[in-house]
């Protein structure tokens, strides 16, 4: 009986901890997305050149690899994640400036924005309500990520539009799988650090948005 009581208490404690991680993750995700949007606005007002996007991606990857994992368990991690998302927002702004100059630019940006929101909300809702553990996707998503990285490096120099389109399509599918994987890990207690959880979900949203922009930009032409 005592053991059963202990199990119930432990189960309840775990559920409370999981809900706390989930709540903190979505709060921080909202704040970082809003901050990114502000920084994108600043970048557009300042009319930063398009190479700023490459600078921001390089800076964000380096911070994500070397700084964030070392600070994620302290309050400094909050500052680092705002630094990363702000930097990516600045880069995004320079891309948006270029898209706004296209004939259907504003329409493409609005459609990509709406599509990204729909994909994220739909998949998160699905992962939160489905009584399934999607952590079996781990090997698949990381293998896919490595293949896509190799393709991106190749296309940095090959500059093939068809490969670029294929990479964008693969990224959308891969990041969608990452949303299921990350959300499921939070719900099932696999991820207990809300800063790292926010970083994962933010990157999925950012990559889906950028890839959708690229696909709609290429496919949405009049020709």
């Amino acid at each position: 009986m005592a053991n059963a009581d202990y199990s119930i208490v432990r189960g309840a404690e775990r559920a409370v901890a999981t809900n706390k991680v989930l709540k903190n993750t979505y709060l921080l995700l909202s704040a970082t997305l809003a901050f990114s949007a502000v920084m994108a606005g600043v970048s557009m007002v300042l009319a930063l050149p398009s190479w700023m996007y490459l600078v921001s991606v390089i800076g964000a990857i380096l911070m994500g690899m070397f700084v964030l994992p070392r600070t994620a368990n302290s309050s400094a991690g909050i500052g680092v994640i705002f630094g990363i998302t702000g930097l990516l927002g600045l880069g995004l702004g320079s891309i948006l400036t270029a898209y706004l100059a296209l004939p259907k630019g504003p329409e493409i940006i609005a459609t990509a924005f709406g599509g990204t929101g729909l994909i994220f909300l739909g998949l998160s809702g699905y992962a939160l309500t489905a009584k399934r553990d999607f952590s079996f996707l781990g090997g698949f998503v990381f293998a896919g990520m490595m293949v896509v990285l190799i393709a991106i490096v190749a296309n940095l120099f090959l500059q093939m539009p068809a490969l670029s389109l294929a990479i964008s399509a693969a990224i959308i599918l891969l990041m969608s799988a990452f949303i299921l994987f990350d959300t499921s890990r939070i719900v099932n207690g696999g991820e207990t650090n809300y800063i790292m959880a926010t970083y994962g979900l933010y990157l999925s949203i950012f990559n889906i948005f950028i890839s959708l922009l690229q696909i709609l930009g290429i496919m949405g032409g009049d020709d």
Binding site: I108, G138, G139
Partner: protein, 61 residues
Amino acid sequence: MTLFLQITLAVVLVMMLFFLWPTFKHWQEHGPKAKEGDWQAVVLPLALVVGLVVLLIALVR
């Protein structure tokens, strides 16, 4: 400027590949295996994502 940044990005992405390798190995070797019906539960939402993207392309054309 752009070529320099492209080369830097390529170097950083290759570094990221090495960085991801242990995580990939860990999930490949110690990650939970899919049970019956798990892949179906993933393929269905991903197919809906593909459908949505096709719809969005049709909307902006």
